[in-house]
Subunit: 245 residues, 2 copies
């Protein structure tokens, strides 16, 4: 059963507030990394998996993409997307990638931001993505970094000293893949931890060539805007991959 | 200046004792992973970088390799290799890879076990390896896992509870690449921490295709032989990569 925490009203209220702050991890760290890996979008047929509120789909159209199919499992997200990022070249759809059916080789470029760690069967999804992407097409995606999802109790992975300073970042159970329940605004947010080798080998097994791996580090300007980004030096939050079919 | 800790007499005495125990991390965890990635060696011209005491070079000849050039910076190691693993099809040489000169495309297969984390300029070494490897040749190597080298004080990365049990594994300063000084038998063992993205992107930049990534996990039999291997579930010690030119 697919999780849809974004339609939990309490979660969504907090999440929206977070995304509406001018400076957050998405716009200062993850989105610049994803965008740095995009090819020239001119005339490309795109699929965005886990499109959320649609800003990225809209960005792609502004950057000359021919069309974006943007899917998400959250009605809340799609309601905002259809209102705020509507465009005749964007089709929003209420689908998880597992349930989305389309002809093989339908897209030139497939993207997915911070979505695939919610998915239980990663390998099946990568197989599907490989099938619906055209030859020489690119797949660019980000997930929470395996270092960040390793620990079983994901409440707070920092170990503090007696004065309450962050002393160490703890990574336990790294090789023990599977479900992690996290408290993020609300209890019971479900994510799936996978080793970095599992992610890479799944891509390769389905015919992808790894082109670039990013563990984004904020620049000084970003850290000035959001001082908590200083933590990124100590452990990476995100893993961003560009792979070619 | 290249480190040569293996010619420090005190270090070497401890290291030899470790390797002579029947069960250690090398023979239960790292070597099985490296060997699982080897191609059919029949008739291959091989280079082994950081050959140590020569067991692996000998293994390759036993498995039908045509010839192995086996290099190491340690006179201590090579003295043992030449005595215990001598073979007419193996040439041992006292070289670091940085100072080893050979014609382009000289080898069909290049291997390196737990050596490249001692090397300061990883990218230059990868460039050289790409140059001296034949087209379609494979490069198989292991390094200490970036998760294991991240922390600046590498004395002991475990955080213990009040009863002395290992409570957490700490990873700090992950993105802060560079020198790490470690106490391993003796003070001042120098290693270089690199992010996993740096390792992968360097290979790709020099024309390699990543074929497989392993973060080896011991099987139950290995854990029975060496109970401390149980720690591998909590954080990986080694990263093992097969890349094709």
């Amino acid at each position: 059963m697919k999780q849809n925490i974004y339609d939990n009203p309490e979660f969504f209220r907090h999440y929206q507030a977070l995304r509406q702050t001018p400076y957050n991890y998405n716009n200062l760290l993850e989105q610049p990394a994803i965008k740095s890996l995009l090819p020239n979008l001119q005339n490309l047929q795109m699929l965005d998996i886990g499109c959320g509120m649609g800003e990225f789909a809209y960005y792609c159209i502004e950057n000359q993409a021919k069309h974006v199919t943007a899917i998400d499992v959250s009605r809340n997200m799609l309601a905002i997307a259809r209102r705020e990022y509507a465009h005749p070249k964007i089709d929003y759809g209420l689908y998880g990638i597992e349930d989305y059916h389309v002809a093989p080789e339908s897209f030139d470029c497939i993207t997915s931001s911070l979505t695939l760690h919610y998915i239980e069967n990663f390998d099946a999804v990568i197989r599907k993505i490989a099938r619906i992407l055209r030859s020489n097409g690119v797949f660019i995606f980000s997930v929470e970094h395996p270092i960040a999802t390793a620990r079983k109790t994901m409440v707070d992975n920092w170990i503090y000293d007696a004065n309450g300073n962050r002393n160490h970042y703890a990574i336990d159970n790294y090789q023990d893949e599977g479900l992690r329940e996290q408290t993020w605004f609300v209890d019971g947010v479900v994510k799936y931890h996978r080793c970095i080798s599992t992610i890479i080998n799944s891509l390769i097994a389905h015919g992808f060539t790894i082109e670039k791996l990013l563990e984004p580090l904020p620049d000084l300007e970003a850290v000035e805007k959001l001082p908590s980004l200083e933590k990124e030096l100590r452990r990476p939050s995100f893993l961003v991959i560009r792979a070619k079919k």
